[in-house]
Amino acid sequence: MEIRRHGDALELAELDPFLAELLRQIPDSTDPKGVERAEQRLFTVPADEKEEEISAEWKLYVEPELRRLFRSSNETVAADLKPLNGAARPFANCTLRIPVKNADAWLNTLNQARLVLAAKHDFTEAELCDHYRSPIGSRRDLSLFQVNFYGFLQEFILQETQRGGSREG
């Protein structure tokens, strides 16, 4: 895989079918799918449990706003990923272009996916820091790889958008 900035887009070129599939799974990976721990991590409490009034207002007014924000980011990412779905040659390497204007949506959705995967599999801090774990021998290993791969993408997007920002500034 080659990753670079190309004009007003971030380009992930020479994506092999495995990495392309991991990218396609980003929007789905943000869904807690009924795992309470994952749902709770996306929508955490705003204050100590003694602050009942704050928590009640939060549930009523803020949480729907957060759900809308997360859904909007996911839709942007899903739209950017569409070119990967129509690959004429499914086993050939492909290229994904992420418009720089969508960087915030990507950062948000990648973070949702990482948090949900980590919560679902209850990864320890040691596991999350073990970036060289291999081979992938289970669903859990694959999810850990996903968390790290999505983190790598986040780092790249951050680096490139901040570099762009400092150039513009």
């Binding site: 929508f43 705003p46 100590d48 706003e65 948000n108 973070n111 949702q112 999350l128 968390v147 951050l158």
Partner: protein
């Protein structure tokens, strides 16, 4: 009439609301350090150095007080931080 209990009670409630609050960010092993630094810069307008200092405090101490002031603004900041999926709470300053 001016010193009626109803008015006193309202005054106390208003004072309770206006007492200072603080916004606390808690450690989370999943969020990237660079991401947390970027969020502090965006939400609070911190310089890169200040944002990094708070990020490292979260990482090493488990929490960092990133803002203090009136409740309404504190709630807004916590909402912004949750929008970026950081673990953040508001606390009364005792």
């Amino acid at each position: 009439m001016l010193e009626s209990p109803v008015i006193e009670q309202e005054t106390r409630e208003k004072q309770a609301i206006d007492l200072p609050w603080q916004v606390v960010v808690h450690n989370d092993p999943v969020n990237l350090m660079t991401y947390v630094t970027m969020v502090f810069q965006k939400v609070f307008g911190f310089s890169h150095e200040k944002a990094e200092k708070h990020m490292l405090e979260v990482h090493r101490e488990g929490r960092s007080i990133v803002w203090s002031g009136m409740r309404e603004r504190a709630e807004l900041h916590v909402q912004q931080l949750h929008g970026y999926l950081l673990l953040a709470t508001l606390e009364r300053i005792n």
